[in-house]
């Protein structure tokens, strides 16, 4: 089981966390076209490599946080931006 580093709690078993998904920015709901909104809802970059994503430390401090993870080998580095930042 891989370790994931929570900014509050440090390295913990990944089973303590819930995967939220790729970090995405929410389009302005007033002006978004259907296509823009559905890209936000349904589409993913899904790269084989580094990705910015959001995790939730549900069995710990309950913080949502951003992290960069390599989807090929699960290596991690802390996210440049904050949680929810645009990918």
């Amino acid at each position: 089981m891989m370790l994931l580093t929570c900014p509050n709690c440090g390295a913990r078993n990944v089973s303590e966390f819930r995967y939220v998904g790729e970090a995405k920015s929410r389009p302005d709901p007033e002006t978004a076209t259907p296509e823009q909104w559905r890209r936000y809802l349904y589409f993913h970059r899904n790269p084989a490599g580094w990705i910015s994503e959001t995790w939730y430390h549900g069995s710990g401090c309950r913080r949502y946080f951003g992290i960069e993870r390599n989807t090929v080998d699960n290596a991690q580095r802390s996210a440049a931006g904050t949680a929810g930042a645009t990918s």
């Binding site: 993913h44 899904n46 084989a48 989807t71 090929v72």
Partner: protein, 432 residues
């Protein structure tokens, strides 16, 4: 008829020696193996009519049906590893058609029908064992969903019904159907035509047939780029530096489908998740039915070799890693013993993982794309193997006629932009 397939010209059909009990005896009596190669090596040509990326059951079935049903044989199947190395060789080989939506039921029912005659059609025993498939319900809401599926199935002519714990016990004597368990079994959706199959044999059978029709199967040939000019596909580039041109390129990959589509700039509503499976040491046959529990995230069947094959739901986070986890086998073992407590001394032999391309509505993405000549048959989630034959048949028709046949009309890529998701999500959200 050439003994050595190497001498057959590309794109030209050859006759393959038939497999039968008689040929088996004949070859057994001969000095050595007189069997021909089931599939041959070729030097890639510069141009093909159709390039299929992905040498799994989808890619090979598409090639087979293009040749068989539409007379299109100038085809290259490009496989980055060996045929069947991806999801086709890593799934738990369960077949069923008891889906929730009419479009899903119709589609998978066609697949099961094709599977039923596949051995004869391909002259290759794929060992489809229609031993019955049951999906357990452990609470009111899942029992309601089982009834929902049963009613939809019946209306589509698919053999499905909800059975009670006593009937379950009769079919699976090892099952604990008492009410004292944490997740008591209230009933099950029973689907007699469902079962298991020898997954590798399906891959090889299609490959052998495609090869006999003159299709070139290039293994260890990875596509690293796709060329597009004026919004039209013109060909592919491979890791060994080749450029192979073709007016039609079909993405039949799983796990890597977004990476291939990225090469032509087509975005995909797909996320790649590992799906794990495991197998035990063999024991004498005792389980004649495929058993699935959504609540316990477990499915179990026993192969003709006596092994129990286990699967579960996809891993909890997106990844391209296929190394597997201990969590998975711990949960699996716990859930299997919850269902069949007498198996605690059986041993887990091996675990592995494959990659699943999950879509938002638990349904595939098939058909045309905004780039002309670039077709997709992707987004197969955890159910791609079941759909191999019908997907090949439908994609072949789609390619031959330039438009998706009715049976896959609901599965187009455009549905996501248009917000018309397929209703299988309804069951997944309610269900388990």
């Amino acid at each position: 008829m050439s003994r050595n397939g190497q001498h057959d010209g590309p794109g030209r059909a050859r006759r393959t020696s038939r497999y039968s009990a008689w040929s088996l005896v004949k070859n057994g009596l001969g000095a050595g193996s007189g069997w021909e190669r089931a599939f041959r090596h070729h030097t890639p040509k510069e141009t093909y009519d159709v390039i299929i990326i992905g040498g799994g059951v989808h890619g090979l079935a598409t090639a087979h049906y293009l040749a068989e049903n539409h007379g299109i044989t100038d085809i290259a199947v490009l496989e980055k590893s060996y045929i069947g190395s991806g999801g086709s060789g890593r799934n738990t080989a369960i077949l069923r058609s008891n889906y929730l939506t009419p479009e899903g039921v119709r589609f998978y029912d066609r697949s099961v029908k094709l599977y039923e005659h596949l051995a004869a059609d391909l002259n290759f025993n794929v060992m489809f064992s229609q031993r019955g498939h049951m999906t357990l319900a452990h609470n009111d809401s899942s029992l309601r969903t089982m009834h929902w599926r049963a009613e939809v199935n019946k209306l589509q002519g698919v053999d499905s019904s909800v059975i009670d714990p006593a009937e379950i016990k009769k079919l699976v004597p090892y099952m604990d159907v008492s009410s004292s368990t944490r997740y008591p079994i209230l009933g099950a959706l029973y689907h007699p035509p469902g079962g298991i199959i020898r997954h590798d044999a399906v891959v090889w059978g299609y490959a052998r047939s495609a090869d006999a029709h003159g299709v070139h199967i290039h293994q260890k040939t990875e596509v690293v780029g796709i060329d597009v000019a004026s919004n039209r596909v013109t060909g592919v580039r491979t890791a060994d530096g080749r450029r192979i041109s073709a007016p039609v390129v079909v993405n039949c990959t799983a796990g890597w489908s977004t990476l291939i589509s990225d090469m032509v700039g087509v975005d995909m509503p797909v996320q790649t998740f590992p799906l794990q499976a495991a197998v035990t040491e063999p024991v004498k046959p005792f389980l004649d039915t495929v058993v699935v529990s959504g609540t316990l995230h477990t499915y179990v069947s026993q192969t003709d070799r006596g092994e129990l094959v286990f699967g579960a739901s996809v891993d909890p986070f997106a990844s391209y890693s296929t190394r597997g986890s201990l969590d998975f086998v711990e949960g699996l073992a716990g859930h299997v013993l919850e269902l069949m407590p007498g198996l605690s001394k059986m041993r887990l032999l091996r675990q592995w993982a494959g990659l699943c391309d999950m879509t938002p509505d638990y349904s595939p993405i098939m058909g045309l794309t905004p780039v002309e000549g670039f077709f997709v048959d992707v987004g197969w989630g955890t159910y791609g193997f079941k759909a191999g034959p019908v997907s090949g048949e439908a994609m072949a028709a789609c390619i031959a006629h330039g438009k998706p046949p009715e049976i896959i009309a609901a599965f187009g890529l455009e549905r996501f932009d248009e917000g018309r998701l397929v209703g299988e999500k309804g069951a997944a959200a309610v269900g388990h």
